[in-house]
């Protein structure tokens, strides 16, 4: 197994290959997106979404952990991109990840705010308040104009997922609560925590299953017009844990920690021997595929947050699954089994679906943020070692080849280019109809 420092060096170098071309209108980290809900393969421009949480956090961690000042620059550059990409109404341009190109992404804008606030707090900690202020100001403006003014539901005492629809999506609400805690830290006032954060988390607890069984600890995916959607995503449960821990730290009330520990127990229960999780667990069934790989960074981060409180988690297989997902190009693949999303039958020996080969900035950032915290302290990272990727795969039962270099991603079959993205460009150059797959 490669050393963590080399993995992180390669991943950081890969992330930088995903940046928009110098001089282009919208600067930032771009590339195709694959996801459970929807893919976004045509739009490849900079997405000012949750990738910025992990990217900024990862670079800040490297800066603080290695003692190398060179890692602060990309964190600040990412913060500058968010500030420049803020729209007149406070939202961020192209912030909806798999739904891009649209603003108003949830939890994406809250996650971007969290990245900005972490950056601002880190700069203030070293006495550079003037540099920190624009980042914090952009985050506060987004939080106030969008989340507090448009998505807060005073009747439900929680945040909606859409201004016009009574709804609650726990993992998104929890990311937002994390941002509110960071904002409170910046402002030095608890108002947003007590008025918005804690009431929202109380609503989240209403959606957690505490009865014994295979759903013990699971938090439902969402509630729409009062109706609970009984789909339980282990990954999204992991995204709820940091906010629950913050609530415990803030109030000292045991039920927050118990909720976080139960959510982690649900994840542990469904973890297989290879360190992978099913995608969705329902009351009596599950849809296992695709299984996340790069996003496992968030699962490990959640487990680490609870470890000091004696909440145990068997993380070694998860770390192994995460590291095994790194390609020679430095990116970490998003998941495996995208081609099994319908049949839910998967053969690990067979050539993968082409989407299993695609590393995505907005998933790899989760691995980056976690792994950056595992590099040996006070040591510089080694130089990156990137190689081209050439992976046989399948596209709708057709044999194909996925290729990635530092300048492009492409999919070929029978000598024909079916997909081509020149890195840095806001749109893929070629998207054949069979690859047009949202």
């Amino acid at each position: 197994m490669k050393q963590i420092a080399q993995v992180v060096a390669n991943l950081a170098a890969w992330l930088e290959t995903m940046r928009a071309a110098p001089g282009s209108a919208a600067q930032g980290y771009g590339g195709p997106v694959v996801h459970w809900w929807q893919n976004c393969l045509s739009f490849t421009g900079a997405g000012l979404d949750w990738r910025y949480e992990g990217i900024i956090s990862g670079y800040l961690t490297l800066w603080q952990r290695t003692g190398e000042n060179r890692w602060l620059a990309p964190a600040r550059c990412a913060g500058d991109e968010l500030v420049k990409g803020q729209l007149p109404g406070g939202n961020f341009r192209d912030s909806t990840f798999e739904l891009n190109p649209y603003p108003g992404g949830t939890p994406h804008e809250a996650a971007a705010d969290l990245g900005l606030l972490r950056l601002a707090l880190a700069l203030r900690d070293v006495g550079n308040e003037s540099a920190a202020t624009p980042y914090a100001a952009a985050a506060m403006r987004n939080l106030e104009a969008y989340f507090l003014n448009r998505l807060w539901d005073p009747t439900a005492q929680s945040f909606r997922d859409h201004p016009d629809m009574p709804s609650l999506v726990p993992n998104k609400a929890c990311t937002l609560v994390e941002a509110l805690f960071a904002a409170a830290c910046w402002q030095g006032t608890e108002e947003w925590i007590t008025c918005y954060g804690l009431p929202t988390l109380e609503s989240v607890l209403q959606l957690q299953v505490m009865a014994p069984g295979w759903l013990y600890g699971a938090i439902a995916q969402n509630q729409i017009r009062g109706q609970v959607v009984e789909a339980y995503f282990p990954y999204y449960n992991a995204r709820c844990i940091p906010a629950l821990r913050l609530a415990y730290d803030h109030t000292g009330q045991e039920h927050w920690l118990a909720s976080a520990a139960a959510a982690l127990a649900f994840i542990q229960y469904h973890l297989d021997d290879e360190g992978r999780l099913p995608q969705v667990v329902y009351r009596r069934d599950l849809n296992r595929y695709p299984q996340w790989i790069a996003p496992l960074g968030d699962v490990l981060r959640a487990a680490d947050l609870l470890a000091p409180y004696g909440v145990s988690f068997t993380g070694e297989p998860v770390v192994a699954a995460l590291l095994a997902g790194q390609q020679p190009g430095g990116g970490i693949v998003t998941g495996r089994g995208f081609g099994s999303q319908i049949s839910q039958r998967f053969r690990s020996q067979a050539e993968p679906d082409f989407r299993d080969c695609i590393p995505v900035a907005g998933w790899a950032d989760k691995a980056f943020a976690y792994l950056a915290g595992r590099v040996p302290p006070d040591q510089p990272l080694p130089p990156p070692q990137l190689q081209p990727v050439k992976q046989p795969c399948r596209l709708r039962h057709r044999a194909a080849i996925w290729q990635e270099t530092e300048t492009r991603m492409s999919l070929l079959a029978n000598g024909q280019t079916l997909y081509h993205w020149q890195k840095g460009q806001p749109w893929a150059a070629v998207v054949a109809p069979e690859v047009m797959w949202k």
Partner: protein
Amino acid sequence: MILADPLRRPGLVYQYAFDWLAVQLSATSGHAAALVSTLFHGVELMRRLSALPFLEPLPPELIRGGLALGVSPLHTLAGETEAAALAWLEPRRADAAQMPTIRQRLQPGGLLYLLAAGPLARFLAERQQNEAAGDPWPAAEALTTLTAAGFRLQSAFALHGLEAVAWHCLGEGCARLGQRHWRDRAHFAMRRAFVTPFSPYRPFAIACLTLERLP
């Protein structure tokens, strides 16, 4: 109304259609421009290609919509410039009269990317809310007229045909029976079938046609 709220997204059919146009137009060497029939189409193109010129001067509402999206005001394709590619978004029957203009503004060998309504378009939310064109020029009719006027069909596909509709209905049935896991799988089957070969004799919501202007 989509212009009043920059956060609103169109449905899946239009997301596919507009993304397809964006890929084609951004890959064009030479001038590209668009002709839109509604503000809805204009805003969606502007979100994707903020520097894309339009063939006709734009109404002030569209320019205001662009500013709300953080996009600079739009401009029109200069004077007698011949475009290497034109996008024509859901023309209405009455817009057929613009065909000579389109032919004139497109260089010989240039490509016309046409979004044309199919029989199922009337079920789209955007159509029911009068955001997309009323009285659309049906794809089959548009194709016949354009080929007679010196355009050659180069490639075509359709969005949201019968197979996708069937999977969608099956999924909703599963959801009503409380079979959420089957509903999700049917939903992904619907998405897999979303892009389908174009045939004027089969139902679909929107056709994406590429036509070459013959000399």
